[in-house]
Symmetry: C2
Subunit: 185 residues, 2 copies
């Protein structure tokens, strides 16, 4: 890919992310992005059809990366229990990696939470897949557990991340563990 394309694309992503951590998505104007990223109007629309598409691409980039990293932790088989994937994820989030925490905690909640939840579903599937209780519809359980994790993170954020990742993860595990069959480790 042309070096110029890559540079502007990244500049736009950076500018957009930065703006999102300060403003509501719907208050951000294309002009804001142009000014912040220092790119021309034409250039922006050459890269992204609309602001919506930019958002979609950014989310795919951001949350895809998070999940992949988290899943990587699973396969690295460092000896931890499967549960700890979520601990890793919380620790990862606390470092505000790629500004994700800013996005989740800003007024843009609604927009990103769904993307986030979608990714967490994948995570739940591959982490707990075999241990899901069969007494309830499988997809219901997966979605419930994913929603519980997202909710846990929101609660953590609402307390300004004062609690430790261990504490937060413990809460999450406490409310979801009864739904799983015994661990076979």
């Amino acid at each position: 890919m042309d070096r110029r394309q890559k540079k502007t694309r990244e500049a736009i992503f950076r500018a957009f992310t930065s703006l999102l951590s300060k403003k509501n998505y719907h208050q951000i104007t294309v002009q804001d992005i142009l000014d912040t990223a220092d790119v021309g109007r034409t250039t922006f629309y050459a890269h992204f059809e609309t602001k919506e598409y930019l958002l979609r691409d950014l989310c795919a980039d951001l949350f895809g990366h998070v999940t992949d990293t988290a899943l990587g932790q699973v396969s690295c088989a460092c000896g931890d229990a499967a549960d700890s994937v979520f601990l890793h994820l919380v620790r990862h989030l606390r470092q505000n990696d790629r500004g994700i925490l800013d996005l989740l905690s800003s007024e843009n909640d609604g927009l990103f939470l769904d993307y986030f939840r979608g990714e967490v579903c994948r995570l739940v599937e591959s982490t707990y897949g075999a241990r899901l209780s069969i007494h309830l519809p499988r997809d219901y359980l997966v979605q419930h557990i994913a929603a519980a994790f997202v909710q846990t993170v929101r609660w953590w954020l609402s307390e300004e991340c004062t609690r430790s990742p261990e504490e937060v993860t413990a809460c999450f595990l406490a409310v979801t563990e009864p739904l799983l069959t015994a661990d076979d480790t």
Copy 2:
């Protein structure tokens, strides 16, 4: 209140609700509302500062009503267990009362889910208040249970409400019951 005021206010609410069940909130223009409600521009802005305020007022109206109705069920002491408040609520929702179901199932999810969750928190407090396990922070538990209910409704909607209210409520109770101390009935 002046009869005229009441009429236009209701016409605007009706038009807005109708539009929301068809379109995304951010795609709805003030002009759309004016045309649908058949009121003048000046009139609209005399009633609501902006479209955002209209949304806020509508939500307060809608969800406040739902919770009050649900809470009324509790105090009517018709002999049912406290759990059944949620069954009542699901049944209530299924009738698409005041078009709430349309709003929750449309593409406006994010907007209304938060209002809804807030109201459900109140419901959880007054229904399970005394039975919340003390091993976890109280507000965490309340929010978790409320989020679980909202998630359950979303799942139900995603299956186009094919399942019965009883079945849906059973799922919700199954995932939250382990978090409560024994019922003292």
